[in-house]
């Protein structure tokens, strides 16, 4: 038995798992219209490969991975592209995003799928394939898997952890997947282990899932694998990557760093399952298991094609019941309110909870913070949330950073236990977004300043060069004139020289700093490109932060 290392705090929210575990995973029905966002992962959105009017087959790439942190996107069924346009997506911001809209033809014809012999493959080629097959972390973080499957220096990854903790209440998609498809998960883990040269493989599961534990143990035995199924106590957020790593290895992922820095790599069980299917059948990631639960007629897990509108998915679960008050995407601890039910299921959506007033009452009015420290006792990152709250509310963002704001994984434990019902995490999200916005502003200003300085410097240099040329010419004229009679000659020489110096001086003085606005189109283009690059880098950095935050 592995010695477990207990992390600080945590919470025991009501589990509500039984609602959706009574039925097996069902295939969600084919729907007439699929809306497939090109950004279903952390990083740069995929570039669209199709236009309105194109016909596509199931599994055909419709978006190509762009840049390093990205992954491809594929058609969930056969049909006709009716539009590539902005559509509402399931995102906390409620903003629209570029989507490929496909009208299904009902035939569901697939591209020619070929199993891939991954064992013989050159590692970087294999990783590129995995990117092109659209694989991303399915635990909610949707970080492109091929990046995490790069072992770096040999022997860096000692422990591969499969995350089956599923600590969020209500969600049971990983639970059911482990119960029903344990062998396929383990086959995916074998690929991961081989790619990472990982010494050991540990599957972490919370002890509230005895069926899943038994199924995984049986599969490990039958397949003759030396993997360990580690049962961890049920305590939210044991499924957070950092918390599970610590639970199982006693190693703390460095602040703002990655698990791999302490020799650990963590993948969700669903990701392993997807990887197995991608390579064994050459089938890109076009579906995932989603829990539909809460105030619906028959809560259940579905294998859902990516792009299925959420309203259609809710209908598949028997539809919402009388008195539904909205939907949560994800779990109740870290999820967000869905703003538009037409938004599609993406690789990031693991659960849809239909709310009702009884189980999800409106939050009580917040009272004053009494510094009772309950929040600090519950914080798995060992922060002092009330101090952060204090400074975030006062908009003293420097102090929030000093109190390690960016080590907050937004798990929600603090808000959950606060007796004054303060929505602490909202304040932390707000403070983070403010700080990011300010950093962006500052960078933009810096870049403008640098551009301006360069521009001034270059104009000056040109003027100076011109002046020097003139002076040289004057000297040459003087030399030419040397053959002339002496007296008149001396006077003339002097006059020419004087004039040249005068001109040079004038030219120099004529150089005043110009406005940066007068850039040539080409310059303008370069500047824009540079800005876009920076923005991408920035988005990438932010998103990496996010990946760490998903239990």
């Amino acid at each position: 038995m592995r010695r477990l290392h207990s992390f600080n705090g945590g919470a025991h929210p009501a589990e509500h798992k039984a609602e959706s575990t009574a039925r097996p995973i069902a295939a969600a029905p084919l729907v007439p219209l699929y809306v497939v966002p090109l950004r279903q992962h952390i990083g740069t959105p995929a570039l669209p490969l199709v236009r309105a009017g194109d016909r596509v087959l199931r599994g055909q790439a419709i978006g190509q991975a762009e840049g390093y942190v990205s992954a491809s996107v594929h058609a969930p069924t056969s049909g006709r592209v009716v539009a590539v346009e902005m559509r509402p997506v399931a995102h906390p911001s409620g903003l629209a995003d570029l989507c490929v809209v496909i009208e299904a033809d009902g035939e569901d014809r697939a591209i020619d799928l070929q199993p891939l012999d991954w064992r013989g493959m050159e590692p970087s080629h294999l990783r590129n394939l995995i990117r092109d097959l659209g694989l991303v972390g399915l635990g909610g973080a949707v970080f492109p898997s091929f990046i995490k499957l790069n072992p770096g220096e040999a022997g860096r990854v000692e422990t591969l952890i499969l995350n089956g903790a599923e600590c969020e209440p209500w969600i049971t998609s990983d639970d059911l997947l482990m119960r029903e498809r344990a062998r396929e998960i383990l086959k995916g883990a074998e690929i991961m282990q081989a790619m990472l040269h990982a010494g050991e493989v540990v599957i972490g599961i919370e002890d509230n899932k005895p069926e899943a534990i038994a199924a995984m143990q049986a599969a490990v035995r039958e397949m003759g694998l030396g993997y360990e199924v580690a049962v961890v106590p049920t305590r939210y957020p044991s499924g957070g990557a950092k918390q599970l790593t610590y639970l199982l290895t006693g190693r703390e992922t460095p602040s703002r760093g990655h698990a791999v820095e302490v020799g650990v790599q963590v993948f969700n069980v669903g990701t392993a399952y997807g990887l197995h299917h991608a390579l064994a059948e050459g089938r890109p990631l076009i579906s995932r298991v989603v829990t539909v639960t809460g105030h619906v007629a028959s809560p259940q897990n579905f294998e859902v094609r990516l792009g299925t509108p959420i309203e259609d998915l809710i209908r598949a679960a028997g539809g919402e019941l009388e008195g539904a008050t909205g939907e949560i995407i994800g779990g109740p601890m870290m999820g967000f309110d869905l703003q538009d039910r037409a938004a599609p299921v993406t690789k990031a959506v693991n659960c849809v909870i239909v709310k009702d007033a009884q189980r999800f009452p409106p939050p009580p009015a917040p009272r004053a913070c009494i510094r009772c420290g309950e929040c600090a006792r519950a914080c798995p990152a060992r922060l002092q949330p009330f101090e952060l709250y204090w400074y975030a509310r006062a908009r003293d963002f420097g102090k929030t950073q000093l109190f390690s704001l960016f080590d907050c994984i937004e798990c929600g434990c603090c808000s959950h236990v606060c007796p004054s019902h303060i929505s602490l995490v909202d304040f932390f999200r707000y403070a983070k977004s403010e700080i990011w916005a300010r950093e962006r502003e500052k960078e933009a200003a810096d870049a403008a300043r640098r551009r301006h300085e360069f521009h001034v410097w270059r104009l000056e240099r040109e003027k100076q060069e011109k002046a020097e040329r003139l002076a040289r010419k004057a000297v040459a004229q003087v030399k030419e004139a040397e053959a002339a009679p002496v007296d008149a000659e001396a006077a003339r020489k002097k006059a020419i020289l004087q004039a040249a110096i005068e001109r040079a001086k004038q030219a120099r003085e004529g150089v005043t700093p110009r406005n940066v606005d007068h850039l040539t189109p080409e310059q303008q283009h370069q500047v824009e490109e540079a800005d876009a690059r920076r923005a991408r880098l920035h988005a990438g950095a932010e998103d990496q932060k996010e990946t760490e935050n998903q239990p």
């Binding site: 109740p332 004053a368 009494i370 060992r382 002092q384 420097g398 959950h416 019902h421 909202d426």
Partner: protein, 345 residues
């Protein structure tokens, strides 16, 4: 907009926390009533009414939602702690003035619940002992030792109609702490003094039972997880250790640890006053430092200070140090290497 978490489950609320604290004070109040008579009920009523009245008034003045804040129960907790720290049977305006200092000055002038630096009840106590020292030293004697044991009628009379009817000598006596101090100054030894009847078994007739009842209430607080062990334990340990050390050095002039634990405001202070979350240190290590300091200062003030008891001033002094203590005792954040971190200038 409020985002996740959505599921908040059955949990504590601030009013419920305050109610439980009040409930944990009840054993001490009952003991007080039993050994010292009905005066405590009158003073509790008075401070409660005054504190809630002042609270409502200030909330109105500050344009705050009166109902929401009044129902948090914090004013009542302050009122009860104040009443339990003051002598009973004092004139009514003493309780009203104490409540004024506690609620208006110490709490709301600093920004209201959660923002006050000093423990409101202790500010009320300190203001009174500085302004009206005479009334603050007239403590009713335990019923069994009093010349005249005041009943309900006497209690209301004394508080509201003044002291004409009954001479203070008939119902008051010096507290054990007070009389020990004066007698030692007069040259007697601790041993000789503690033999006198007022000192009871552990520290003082009646008072020792009240202290034990507060200890029981404090244990309930711990059991209900309304406070952690850090502050009460550090406070009591510091009192016991420092008193014990002094006693070892000079047993004739310094009473032992048990006497100090069982007299005055130590038990009330350890479990109910020093633990006030708003004004106490918040980090685990900081709590030990803060409460240890308060316990030590209590004994120091009792031994060398000008006041009979040191709990109030010790707590107030340590309240002052809390921001500093907290800064230097921040827990090590998960994934970071340094434990102690200074706040940037």
């Amino acid at each position: 907009m409020t985002g996740a978490p959505f599921s908040l489950g059955p949990r504590n609320s601030t009013p419920r926390v305050m109610l439980k604290v009040l409930a944990a004070l009840v054993p001490g109040i009952v003991a007080h009533y039993w050994f010292f008579g009905p005066g405590i009920v009158v003073s509790l009523l008075l401070t409660s009414l005054a504190a809630v009245g002042f609270e409502a008034f200030v909330l109105l003045m500050r344009n705050q939602p009166v109902r929401l804040h009044l129902t948090d129960g914090s004013a009542l907790v302050t009122a009860w702690l104040l009443a339990l720290s003051l002598p009973t049977l004092a004139p009514w305006w003493l309780y009203v003035a104490g409540s004024f200092f506690a609620i208006v000055v110490a709490k709301h002038l600093y920004g209201g619940l959660g923002q006050n630096v000093f423990n409101p009840a202790m500010v009320g106590y300190a203001a009174l002992i500085v302004s009206f020292p005479l009334y603050m030293t007239q403590w009713p004697a335990p019923l069994e030792l009093a010349v005249h044991a005041p009943g309900w009628a006497d209690a209301f009379d004394l508080v509201f109609a003044g002291q004409g009817a009954l001479s203070p000598d008939a119902y008051t006596s010096a507290t054990p702490l007070d009389s020990l101090k004066t007698q030692i100054l007069a040259g007697r030894t601790v041993e000789a003094v503690l033999g006198q009847p007022i000192y009871g078994l552990l520290g003082g007739v009646g008072g020792e039972w009240v202290a034990l009842a507060f200890l029981a209430g404090g244990a309930a607080l711990l059991a209900m997880r309304l406070t952690t062990w850090h502050i009460p334990l550090a406070f009591l340990a510091a009192v016991a250790l420092s008193a014990g050390a002094l006693h070892l050095i000079d047993p004739a002039r310094h009473a032992g640890p048990l006497f100090h634990l069982m007299t005055g405001g130590v038990m009330l202070g350890a479990f109910f006053i020093a633990t006030d979350p708003v004004t106490a240190s918040t980090t685990p290590l900081g709590k030990l430092v803060y409460a240890g300091g308060a316990g030590l200062l209590t004994v120091v003030i009792r031994t060398w200070g000008g006041f009979p008891d040191g709990v109030a001033f010790a707590v107030l002094l340590m309240n002052m140090c809390v921001p500093f203590i907290d800064d230097y005792t921040q827990p090590r954040v998960f994934g970071k290497t340094a434990r102690l971190r200074r706040r940037a200038p």
